[in-house]
């Protein structure tokens, strides 16, 4: 029973940790030009979060800036779109633990590649 409870608590913690990791990415983008002290503090926050995440076996889903075929199971669009895009550009990577996706990657639609 204790094991089961501990496991349940960890599952909750994983979700929160994964969310915090993605939130730290958002924050990094917003305060990038606010001076070295803020950047330094943010770097430390990201480092600790990253470390905690790795120690819990969390890894990133997709890479920021990468282009991928839209998969609703892996990606969430930053802005609501009436039409499902074919391809997306990853803005904020998601977070996975083993085979379980804890946070989907945030993405924006990109125009289909032109045929030459």
């Amino acid at each position: 029973m204790v094991e089961a409870l501990a496991q349940a608590a960890w599952a909750e913690a994983d979700a929160a940790l994964a969310r915090a990791l993605a939130d730290a990415d958002v924050l990094t983008r917003l305060v990038k030009k606010s001076g070295p002290a803020v950047e330094g503090a943010l770097a430390m926050l990201r480092q600790s979060l990253g470390q905690a995440a790795r120690k819990r076996g969390l890894t990133r889903l997709e890479e920021a800036g990468a282009r991928a075929a839209f998969d609703p199971n892996r990606h969430v669009l930053i802005k609501i779109s009436s039409k499902q895009p074919k391809d997306v550009r990853i803005v904020i990577p998601g977070v996975v633990r083993g085979e379980t996706i804890l946070v989907k990657a945030e993405a924006t639609p990109v125009s289909p590649r032109r045929k030459r």
């Binding site: 496991q7 070295p36 002290a37 950047e39 330094g40 503090a41 770097a43 430390m44 480092q47 990253g50 470390q51 790795r54 120690k55 819990r56 076996g57 633990r97 083993g98 085979e99 379980t100």
Partner: protein, 460 residues
């Protein structure tokens, strides 16, 4: 439940670990049956790791994390815990080294020789294993285990003699554990007089035990190769620990055992500690620590946080630290541009290529078309190590497959993501438990038949 299980101890430099697996794992592997033991369930850290430390302070002897905490509290009084036993076990003249009287900083009571302190620690480890086995729903049903311990390959090659000596320590520890029992796990320690009497009695009457030796590189081969079937006949293991970086080339058939290619073995004295010193020097150069006091403070701070700092540096390519009100960032390229580092990386690259060529020649001669390569130890995740093992895809017609430091099976759904993060630290104990008997380097009955302790033949 009858035996049919193997229990392997990794008597590590900083931590000890233990894991159990069914004896038939090699033929019928089920990842869910791999059972690492919770050796320190009430500790503040990873419950699977037991600190390798003994601290003597009359009227008690303390073990594990309690020993480290007390030694830290008394650091200003030049007191220290005995640690890094494994380094001692690789001494050229082990029997003589074991009879050495430790310095007063370690035993101010002058009650023990190093052998006694190691036996006491092994008894503590044994008590922790008994507790860990009882707490495991599956293992608590098993009445006996085939026992093994993992150790580095000894340079002199006299595995049987060394195995006899080390197994003798385990036999004495068994007697101490039977005498003192679970009191060994009391954070307040055991009574010094009782400990002294117990080691004296154990020397006179060690408990006969059966224990096997598996070399660490072979244990790494076992957890890497299990489940790969006939593909895993030739394997290179690059092990970067704290004090040495070792390259071992193994060939054979997993079920029957591997033999080492001695001409391919390389041991470099530069390893994790060497990398740590470069990082500290880079940090000192980047900091504004001008006075000796400030430099000492920075050195202490970085050394104490080095494990996590390196983990972040290797994982993300940069790591930051806060010192004197400023945040300083070190990038991986700072390390890679260091002259000493470049010299080490060059030597390591040449040694690795040399070993791989010899292994590929052996593979060709054996009719194999593929060889495996894996990095293990604390430095396995370092990008320059990973790049090294992934750089070569083919040697002549022999394909080279770089295997991950954490095998795919450790990500199996049965573990719900819980094994992979801790796998690197438990890897050797797990590999030692999974390995078929043919992979053992030595085995024997101790002490009654210590003369029968035998080094197993290199080839079947």
């Amino acid at each position: 439940m009858s035996s049919g299980w193997v229990l392997c101890i990794d008597f590590g430099t900083a931590f000890s670990k233990a894991a159990a697996a069914p004896r038939a794992s090699w033929e019928r592997f089920s990842p869910a049956s791999v059972r690492p033991l919770m050796l320190d369930p009430a500790g503040a850290g990873n419950p699977f790791l037991l600190d390798s430390a003994v601290f003597v302070e009359a009227p008690h002897v303390l073990f594990g994390s309690a020993a480290i905490a007390r030694a830290d509290a008394l650091a200003q009084e030049k007191r220290a815990a005995l640690r890094s036993f494994k380094t001692l076990l690789s001494a050229g003249d082990l029997e003589r080294a074991l009879e050495t009287v430790p310095p007063a900083s370690i035993d101010p009571t002058r009650s023990f020789v190093l052998r006694d302190l190691i036996v006491l620690y092994l008894a503590y480890l044994q008590a922790a294993m008994v507790r860990g086995l009882a707490a495991d729903r599956m293992l608590s049903q098993v009445d006996s285990f085939e026992r093994r311990y993992a150790a580095p390959a000894w340079r002199g090659g006299d595995g049987a003699r060394m195995h006899g000596a080390v197994a003798g320590l385990f036999a004495e520890a068994e007697t101490v554990c039977r005498n003192i029992g679970q009191r060994l796990l009391d954070p307040a320690g055991v009574d010094l007089e009782a400990a002294r009497e117990a080691v004296r009695a154990a020397r006179a009457a060690p408990t006969p035990i059966q224990i096997g030796l598996i070399f660490e590189a072979t244990a790494a081969a076992a957890y890497t190769a299990i489940g790969l079937g006939s593909a895993a006949t030739h394997l290179a293991v690059l092990d970067m620990g704290a004090g040495t970086t070792d390259i071992t080339a193994l060939a054979g058939q997993a079920a029957k055992g591997y033999h080492e290619l001695p001409q391919a073995r390389v041991t470099l004295k530069q390893a994790g500690d060497f990398i740590d010193n470069i990082i500290v020097n880079v940090a000192l150069a980047k900091s504004r620590a001008k006075t000796p006091q400030a430099q000492t403070a920075l050195w202490r701070m970085l050394k104490s946080e080095m494990r996590d700092f390196k983990e972040a540096l290797f994982a993300s390519g940069h790591a930051s630290f806060r010192f004197d009100g400023r945040t300083l960032k070190i990038a991986l390229r700072d390390l890679e541009q260091d002259r000493d580092f470049r010299g080490f990386a060059g030597t390591l690259g040449e040694a690795y290529q040399h070993a791989m060529k010899l292994l590929a020649d052996e593979a060709r001669a054996d009719g194999a078309t593929e060889l495996q390569s894996v990095a293990v130890g604390g430095g396995a995740a370092a990008p320059f190590i990973q790049n090294l093992i992934k750089r070569t895809n083919k040697i002549g017609k022999v394909k080279v497959m770089a295997r991950p430091a954490t095998p795919d099976w450790a990500h199996a759904a049965e573990f719900a993501g819980n094994l992979a993060p801790v796998f690197p630290q438990l890897a050797i104990a797990i590999g030692g438990a999974l390995a078929p008997e043919g992979m053992l380097a030595a085995r024997g009955s101790i002490p009654a038949a210590s003369a029968r302790s035998e080094t197993l033949p290199a080839r079947d």
